[in-house]
Symmetry: C2
Subunit: 203 residues, 2 copies
DNA sequence: CTCGTTTTGTCCTTCCGTTCACAAACTCCT
DNA sequence: AGGAGTTTGTGAACGGAAGGACAAAACGAG
């Protein structure tokens, strides 16, 4: 369920505001979903609400976190410390949401002995070693598109089983490895599509 | 249809390789979708294939580009030139895919008289002026979450009708304005969810 | 010109996610 | 204690996307 993290974020905001309990309607409007859908989503995890009252914010948050697997910190590595890799390495939001960037890797020799966001940039050849030593299972690819499949293969070879790919390529990976793709150009193109439709109807 | 840009990219790659024609099967494997689905998608645009032969790569690419609205260049502004905003401003992939970053805006006074990726960083108060002068309809938000709703409101007020939001917030916008959200933490959390499932079955 | 091969375009079935609607469960007030 | 008012959890209806399957169309060889 891809919506659980959204609920989780909304619940965290409620905790900040010292709100102890909330109805499905409240959560639904806060997250922009239908309240029936929200209740059905939550019912898959178990019966954590109280009829006539709502959900205990803290308790529900813990239950969702447990379901998503965020009761532990996940070690993450980032490969490709260019424009995007820098931004990701510096992003503090990962840390606060259950992820710990344990290593940055790049193939370019210029990076030797440099640090980004307090972490040394390590040579790409050390991938296997790092993955093994830190039991990393999640890797982020922010290299150019041509290198992405190679990097993915090496990651899989090293034991990584989940990949977040920013390069605009379709990665082919063996069964059992999950890949999620984030493609900003495609997002913009989808916006452009709708934008064009608007422009067509108007004049 | 959110898959058209994916087809577009694959077709561009085929053009690079001087491949003049291709079957739905070819395109389907290149993009990782089912060939029946792909044909159905394309049939919505019209009958651009030849039975027994396949699709003319160049022609199909143009038709999809036209449908998506990429026969023109879309001007785009980026608000919030921090870690992520820098990366976006420096990204050359937008330019080659039909988008032109026409302005960078940030509220922080430190940015006065600085340039990023060859563009001056302009004060946020100039938003309306820029949007009007350049007829911008697409805006990117890469500010902290607290500022995102404000920025979105100002954008909408200035005449922007499509927003790409990187801040982890649900934006509320009037009817007729499109918002797409990119949330990297959520992507990672979805990976963590699957990762946890794998770990549960194994031992 | 005909036949066999290839590939599109589309009908039809299946399946999954969404939404409605409502009984069951709980609280609070009198 | 009972009734009024809330809110959950879920059965059932709905809608639309996905995929299987195949007829229609194009091409080339003989
Ligand atoms: N910058 C953005 O805002 C942005 C936006 C959308 C998509 N992307 C995509 O993200 C990827 C990275 O973008 P970027 O702007 O950071 O590019 P970049 O060129 O700035 O950085 C790429 C980095 O990857 C490293 N690299 C190259 N080959 C490698 C390999 N085989 N192993 C390890 N490291 C390797 C390079 O040394 C470089 O440091 C690209 O695929 C790009 O299309 C970037
Ligand atoms: N850096 C990443 O890799 C990353 C990853 C995922 C999500 N995000 C999200 O993207 C957003 C930006 O991240 P970042 O790391 O670049 O943050 P950042 O703090 O480095 O940059 C934010 C920029 O926005 C500017 N800003 C603040 N308020 C503004 C306003 N009202 N109007 C205009 N500009 C304003 C600030 O001056 C700053 O330059 C955040 O919401 C973050 O959660 C970032």
């Amino acid at each position: 369920m891809a919506r659980l993290p959204i609920y989780l974020r909304a619940l965290s905001a409620l905790v900040e505001d010292n709100i102890g309990t909330c109805s499905s309607e409240d959560l639904a409007t806060a997250t922009g979903v239908n309240s029936a859908k929200l209740r059905k989503d939550l019912s898959y995890l178990g019966s954590y609400g109280t009829r006539g009252v709502g959900y205990d914010v803290d308790y529900l948050r813990y239950q969702i976190a447990r379901e998503v697997g965020l009761t532990q910190d996940w070690p993450v590595i980032i490969v490709g410390i260019g424009n995007l890799g820098h931004a990701l390495a510096n992003y503090s939001g990962f840390r606060s949401r259950g992820f710990r960037v344990v290593a940055l890797l790049d193939a370019a020799p210029e990076f030797k002995d440099t640090e980004v966001a307090g972490l040394p940039v390590r040579p790409f050849v050390e991938l296997e070693e790092i993955v093994r030593a830190q039991s990393v299972s999640i890797g982020v690819i922010s290299t150019p598109a041509q290198a992405a499949q190679d990097v993915a293969d090496r990651m899989v070879g090293a034991g990584i089983t989940s990949i977040l790919n920013f390069a605009p390529t379709v990665l082919s990976v063996p069964e059992g490895v999950d890949v999620r793709k984030v493609d900003l150009s495609i997002e913009l193109q989808i916006l452009a599509y709708h934008e064009q439709r608007k422009a067509e109807v108007a004049p």
